[in-house]
């Protein structure tokens, strides 16, 4: 049976993990390469590295980080942040990523999705969408934001997800800006709206506080995968423990792992 994926997310700036999960037994807990491997060994089904570096120098560091991380990483590895052109994507793939994630740059120039998909295959293109509900409006009115959630685009989340799929995206990574950081659960309604609108897998992000929240987004939210970041700070040790809890709740997960 196809299982629901638990994806560990590392936020990286200038080559260092700035948010995410700490492993006590690592010599350097800020090293994304070491953390990526530690997450895989702790049962994560996939690793996402999101680079929030703004400087040009930092971009070179990213390639080095991806190279070091992928050397000993034998689960799917996605890398996002600052990929604006086909050449950026090619460099990240060459460094060892299996998938790249595009967000603002794809909204600004949607053809980027087609270009990367044609060259590297649809399975390699994840379109990340930051969405926010519109007050007193139905879920279908939820709006896409770019620039790290600062800039409204006037696009509807569901419409943009459909367009991304049509252009050759392999997966959608949907972050609910309303839920992000609340630890009160994913936005299941928004996730379900997107998941029902497209045939490609939807990865839910934002709001996880406990294992039941994951069970909810896989059930009501119809998510195919979910991103885990800060939950590992608050009582759940790692992906293996999270998946053991989920199995008890009846969610199909990869165990043993």
């Amino acid at each position: 049976m196809l299982t629901k994926r638990i994806i560990a997310c590392l936020d990286v700036k200038d080559g260092r993990v700035v948010k995410g999960i700490q492993f006590v037994d690592l010599i350097d807990a800020g090293d994304p390469a070491a953390l990526a491997v530690a997450h895989a060994e702790a049962g994560a089904d996939e690793i996402v590295l999101l680079d929030i570096t703004a400087t040009h120098e930092g971009r070179g560091t990213l390639i080095d980080t991806v190279q070091r991380a992928s050397r000993n990483l034998f689960v799917p590895f996605a890398v996002g942040g600052g990929i604006r052109a086909l050449d950026d994507a090619a460099a990240v793939f060459d460094a060892g990523a299996d998938k790249i994630s595009v967000n603002s740059a794809a909204v600004a120039r949607p053809e980027l999705i087609d270009e990367i998909g044609r060259r590297f295959g649809a399975q390699a293109v994840v379109v990340a969408i930051d969405g926010r509900r519109v007050k007193d409006q139905p879920v279908a009115a939820a709006e896409v934001f770019t620039g790290g959630g600062r800039k409204p685009t006037g696009r509807r989340v569901v419409d943009w997800a459909r367009e991304a799929e049509r252009r050759g995206a392999g997966e959608i990574l949907l972050t609910s800006m309303d839920s992000d950081g609340t630890r009160s659960g994913f936005d299941c309604e928004l996730t379900a709206a997107v998941s029902e609108a497209v045939a490609i897998p939807v990865i839910a992000s934002g709001g996880a506080g406990n294992a039941a929240h994951f069970a909810d987004v896989f059930g009501q939210g119809k998510a195919d995968a979910a991103l885990a970041a800060s939950i590992f700070h608050f009582g759940v040790a790692n992906a293996r423990e999270l998946k053991t809890e989920l199995a008890k709740l009846g969610v199909p997960v990869r165990l043993p792992c």
Binding site: G121, Q123, P201
Partner: protein, 201 residues
């Protein structure tokens, strides 16, 4: 360029070979990434990776690689096709009806016919047939990572199936001819066991 006694990883300009190469390196393999039929012609083993579209395999026929691979397979050299590399072993695929496969196995690959989402992406479990050398040491029910929309038919050579709206071929083995629909290079310790089995043949 050597690959005399080494492994030829065939580069047919489709997608990204880095992950397969890294996994084989991590297992200590000596390999060469090549598009040269002569290198394939003296390789001790041949790996045909593949992510992307079946149409990309037309490069194999145009460049003389298909003939070199088939000749090497006829010599008894172990062959491993991964994803589209497995599908190429069959007669063809509905994904690119005009592009012939190797025809080493009977049947054609078809798109998933299911109410489930297509593509099939993620970790799914294997049901194993006993006696496979490639799957030695892999526990029945083990999970492996998939990403594909087309699947190979179940045939006598099928040594593992996975269920997704019905069973499909997860792995084939017919003597020295082997293939896996999933990505062993992305399937954690289970996948590395399978690659190691191939390296040790």
């Amino acid at each position: 360029m050597s690959a005399g006694g080494g492994i030829a990883v065939v580069d047919y300009r489709a997608g990204n070979l880095t992950s397969v190469v890294k996994a084989l390196h991590a297992l200590g393999a000596s390999l060469e990434v090549t598009s040269d039929p002569q290198v394939v012609g003296r390789a001790a083993k041949v790996v045909l990776p593949g992510v992307g579209h079946f149409a990309a395999t037309s490069f194999l026929a145009e460049g003389g690689l298909a003939a070199a691979i088939k000749s090497r397979v006829a010599d008894g050299v172990p062959f491993l096709g991964i994803c589209v590399g497995l599908q190429w072993l069959f007669e063809g695929s509905a994904e690119a009806p005009d592009v012939p496969g190797a025809g080493l196995l009977a049947g054609r690959c078809e798109r998933f016919q299911t109410q489930e989402k297509v593509p099939h992406v993620g970790w799914n479990s294997l049901s194993l047939k006993p006696g496979s050398r490639l799957m030695a040491g892999v526990a029945d029910g083990s999970y492996v990572y998939y990403t594909h929309s087309y699947r190979a038919p179940a045939r006598i050579a099928t040594v593992a199936v996975t269920d997704y709206g019905g069973p499909f071929t997860a792995a084939v083995e017919a003597g020295n001819i082997m293939g896996v629909q999933f990505h062993p290079e992305k399937s954690g310790p289970v996948g590395l066991t399978i690659l190691k089995n191939f390296l040790e043949l």
